[in-house]
Structure formats: structure tokens, C-alpha cells
Amino acid sequence: MAKIKGTIIVDIERCKGCGVCVPSCPANVLALSHHVNGKGYNYSYMANPDACIGCASCAIMCPDSVITVYRQKFE
Amino acid sequence: MKKEVRLMKGNEVLAEAAIRCGADAYFGYPITPQSEVMETLMELQPWETTGMVVLQAESEVAAINMVYGAASTGKRVLTSSSSPGVSLMSEGFSYLAGAELPCVVINVTRGGPGLGTIQPSQSDYFQATKGGAHGDFHLITLAPSSVQEMHDFVFDAFELAFKYRNPVMILSDGVIGQMMEKVVLADQRPRRTEAEVIAAEKDWALTGKTADREEHVITSLELDPYAQERFNEKLIAKYNKVRENEVRYETYKTEDADYIIVAFGSAARICTMTVDMAREAGYKVGLIRPITLFPFPTKAIAEMAAKGAKGFLSAELNHGQMVEDVRLAVNGKAPVEHYGRSGGAVFSPDEVYNALLTKIIKK
């Protein structure tokens, strides 16, 4: 059976850690990291990467456009 | 080619000159005594001929900001109003100067302060020459004294506005705006094409960001105080260049004069007769008429003082505004007095003559 899988790349240094991407994810993939970036923000990351479906909801919500989304279909 | 000559009202000729000099737009709001400017434009419908836009705004505040918008795109744009309306526009002057935008503003002055009167006055001299709003800036200010100059100065004002990227004011008054005189009209000049605007104002005008250039931003905002200071210094350098290159004035019988009347606009016309009256009575009196109020003909007046003029009378339709610039120019070398009427009252040549006698000659 085919499976669609996604992944995101967060531009960590541009992320302000606002967290609006976290509840927008229908697959509960995202969380704010315990680590901070150069500005001191707890940046967004994939806490549960296997669940990502590449829907781009997080990227659409991100006010700072720091999320790039990829998706691939595996047969 | 034979020039077109007509008998026209000052306000009407402003409209005619705006069209003929190839202006792209006029935005205004009715106010006495200059309403004929927009009335004439609406009657002439230049959008059908040259393509010039004419729009009646909801207020002078809106009108000057429409000017700001159109000027942002490199268009030749003007507005006109009278004193209370010009006060409403003054915020816009500061933004236009701060964003270095060219435009032409006409003030057909009436008596103030407040709503004041609808009769002619020169009581907006300070506002027109000292910036007239917040921040370190100046308008370049031209003062016509005839209907012909109302026509000619529209052309000159646009030239100065684009040469220095600064708003230019034509400071007229209800006398010049309402009276009719013979005027020689210039031939119609074409409006600039889009390609000409892009070529001429390629460094700053909002013509649409293309791949070959960075985006253009028209703004007067700066958060860094040192950058703002550097910008202000650049503006001041520009105004110094204006002071150096653009001073205009006219003299009447000043060569041998012991006493000098300084007057601009409609007041200067009246004072020409005062000079003749004084000459008939045996007094050597001359007149200097500043045509540019900013830059002020400081040097010319200083030279008259240095050559031994015994006294200066600044005759203005106000309670003493230009006299401050005359005093600065004379710098204590001779007495400088003011004579004026205000509130819409206009002095006669003999009133000025009497003032000259009592305040200067027989003092």
C-alpha cells in the first residue's frame, strides 16, 4: 500500500518560537525545542517526525515563513 | 510662432498653466479665494486632452496626500488652496520634504488667523518660508505679483521641484488670484510618457519593481538618530544649494536710492506707486521685490545696506513677518521698520508713503 510521508525543514535561526505551528499540525508532529537559537527562542522542531504527512499547515501558519515542507509518496 | 494672449483671472491662469506645462494631476478642495482653480480645470476637462487627472478630494488633508502618492511615482502633480486649507496640508509638506518628493503647492492667501477672512493677505509668510510644519525643512517659495507670473511660476515651480526633489510653494494672495490681466500663454507641452518618467527618475520613483533594479521605497521614517541626522544634513546641504543658485528678485529705482522699500507679491505692486510718489516729492526711494521668499535675497539687501542705504521699510499685508528676514539681511547697518495692514485690509500707496516718511525718512 502506498504511503505519503512528509518532512519539514525549520530555519532555526529565523524561528521566533511563537508556537502557532504546534497546534496547527493535525498529526501532532511539532513541539518547541528545549534548546534555543541564537536569539534565545525555543525553536520549532519535529518531535514526532514519522507522523508528518507534509500537509504544510504549519508552514502556512508560520508568521515568519521559516518552514519549508516536502512530501513524498512511497509505493 | 504667435503666442496666445488672453485676459484672464489669476486663479484661472493657474489652471491653464498647469495643463499647458504638462502636469499629470491636480488634487484639491474648494476654498475661497482660490476655488476657480479647480472649477476651471473641471471645465477644461484636461483628462480628455492631455490625460491630466483632476480630482476633488474630501479635504485638504486628503488632497495633499493624493499629491504625495502621485509624486511618489514621479508624476508632475500640484494642488492649490488658501490659508486655512494650507494649514491642513502642512503635515503633508513635512512628509513630502522628508521623503524628498517634488510637487507644487499654491496658496492664494487670505486673512487669518483661524478661519479669518476671505480677503487678500500675506500673513502666511512665516508658514511658507520657514517650513511651516514639524522637522528641519523648507519649501522653495515663489511669490508672483501679476497674473503673468501666476502663469510663469507654475512652469518654474515644477522645474525647481524636480531639480531639488522638494515641494515648491507659489505664495500668491487674493488680489493676484482674483484680478484679471493680460497674460501670454505658453504653448502646450506634452505630459511625460511612462518611459520618460522611468528614465528621468530611475533612482527613486515608484514605477514598479523590475528585475533590473531593487525595490523603491518612498518614506520619511528612520529609527536611527544618527542616520536621521545624516539625512537632515543632506537636506540642509540641498537648501544651501538652493540659497546659492535660485535667489530671484526684482528692483525698481534702487540704483541711487537712500531708502529702500522691501515688498513682495501684490504689496510690491502697490509700493511701486509709493516709490514714484516719493521720487516726485524729492526723496530717493527704491523698491526691492523678493520673487523667491525662500531662498530670500539676503545678499542683495545686505549689499544695499553696505552701499549706504539709510533705511528699509518692509511693507507687508501682515503684522510683520518678512521684516525679520530683512533685519537679518541688513544686520544692524541701517534702521529697518515694518508697515502693514492685515485681516484682509490692503494698504494704499499713500499709506505706505506716510509710513515711509514717519517711520524712516523723518525719524
Binding site: 521566533k16 527562542y41 508552514a59 515563513s65 519549508t68 512530501r71 | 511615482t73 525595490e215
Partner: protein, 253 residues
């Protein structure tokens, strides 16, 4: 299936930052709605292929610096005067796509006259109105759209209509005017809402280019710093409090 790894290559790309956005880091607070709406404007301009035709007018307020973030030509207007500035641009450049981007203080307080009259003249421009019911830039003072009871720096005990007057719905007012062709109220607090707002902005820009009159897109937004809550809580608070008073959806057209 954990061994399946998505390859990072162009053909797998679903979403990336619009090329119309500059690389400058936005000065907005974390979670601010402005960033999201800026992004939508950039995407719409890119998708319509109108970068060379578009001139934006930025206001006074937090979004005064909108001109730093999009690769288009911008004019920055005096406080409240964006619609007049846009009128001047559009009337003298009828082939350009002209839009204003304004907050509630700029558009609905100091600029009410310019807004109403541009709408009433039916200027062929698009107006994007960010309504977060507060003055963000000056430090969280009361806006004309601040709700009754809402605490701000200038209504510290809550907005009391006896002292401060009532909030008003300017989108409803401009929808009554003959010159507006499209008036809508949207939000950007969920992915679905963001998609709808983008469609609204696109429609507004298309209307402006087609000369149909003025399109007015209100975006009910958050100001989490001004409201003194987290960005996620602000989205919730907005849905529970602002949206009932400023209901979402098309009002006209």
C-alpha cells in the same frame, strides 16, 4: 515504515517561503498576525505575476515597515492617509495594482475620512485592514475597534462606553457604499482561515486590476504582546472574543 525518508529535492517540495518576501527578519513580535498576512500578500502577487505592476502603501503603526519585507515598490503614508496616497498613485498610474495595508488605528480612527471616501469613490485599489483591536506600535492603547470591557493602556479598567465610546465595524459601514465591490472579514488563526484569507486577498487584487471598484479585506488579527498573552492563547482569545463581535465571512460581493 520508519526507514522511509523523504528526499529533500525540488520535486518533493510542497511549501516554501515566497520569493517575493525579502530576507529581512520581520520586526514583529513572535506570533504576530502581520507576518502571516504579509506572506499571503507576497504569495498572491507572485501567483498573479504582478510584481512589476504592484505598488503598496504602508501605514503608520506596526506595519509601517511592511516596505522592508516585500520585493515591490512602496510608498509610506502619513498616519491614516494611506487610502488618499493610494488614490493619488492609482489615478495617475491606472495600469498599476495599488493596495494599502493598514491597522485599526490608522484605517478606522485617524484615517476614517480617507478610508470612507476612497471606498465611496470606488477607487480601483485593494485595502487590507488588520484589526487586532489595539494600538500595537505605541504600546497597547485603545483602538476604535477595542471591545467593550477590554483592558488596554488607555482603558486600564476595561473599555467603558460611557467614557470611551463603542467599538465599531467599519467593514459593515464601507459595505454600504456604492464604490466598494467586495467587502470581507477573514482571519489567520487556523490553516483553513489562512487559506480563505489568501483567496480573499487574491480576489481583491483581481478586482482592483479589473477596475471593479474598491475591495476591502478585513483580517481579524491578534496582538499577543498588546493583549499580554502567548501567541497560541491569543489565537484562542481572538476566536472566543473578537470573532463573535466581528463575524467572519463575506459581507459584500
Amino acid at each position: 515504515m520508519a526507514e522511509l525518508e523523504v528526499q529533500i529535492k525540488e520535486e518533493n517540495l510542497v511549501y516554501r517561503k515566497s520569493p517575493l518576501l525579502t530576507d529581512k527578519i520581520m520586526h514583529y513580535c513572535p506570533g504576530c498576525s502581520h507576518g502571516t498576512v504579509h506572506k499571503l500578500v507576497a504569495e498572491v502577487i507572485d501567483e498573479l505575476g504582478i510584481q512589476e505592476k504592484t505598488i503598496g502603501v504602508s501605514p503608520v503603526g506596526c506595519s509601517v515597515f511592511a516596505y522592508n519585507y516585500l520585493h515591490i515598490d512602496w510608498s509610506q503614508a502619513a498616519h491614516g492617509r494611506a487610502c488618499a496616497v493610494a488614490t493619488g498613485i492609482k489615478r495617475t498610474n491606472p495600469d498599476k495594482m495599488v493596495f494599502t495595508y493598514q491597522g485599526d488605528g490608522d484605517l478606522a480612527a485617524i484615517g476614517t475620512a480617507e478610508t470612507i471616501h476612497a471606498c465611496n469613490r470606488g477607487e480601483n485599489i485593494a485595502v487590507i485592514f488588520i484589526n487586532n483591536a489595539i494600538y500595537g506600535m505605541t504600546g497597547g492603547q485603545m483602538a476604535p475597534t477595542t471591545l467593550i470591557g477590554m483592558k488596554t493602556a488607555t482603558s486600564p479598567y476595561g473599555r467603558d462606553p460611557k467614557i470611551h465610546g463603542f467599538p465599531y465595524k467599519i467593514a459593515d459601514i464601507v459595505s454600504q457604499l456604492s464604490g466598494t465591490c467586495y467587502v470581507t472579514r477573514q482571519s489567520v488563526h487556523t490553516p483553513a482561515a489562512v487559506r480563505k484569507t489568501k483567496a480573499a486577498i487574491k480576489k481583491a487584487f483581481e478586482n482592483a486590476m479589473a477596475g471593479k471598484g474598491l475591495s476591502f479585506v478585513e483580517v481579524v488579527s491578534t496582538c499577543n504582546s498588546g493583549w499580554k498573552m502567548s501567541p497560541v492563547d491569543a489565537n484562542k482569545w481572538m476566536e472566543e472574543n473578537l470573532v463573535p463581535f466581528y463575524p467572519l465571512g463575506d459581507i459584500k460581493g
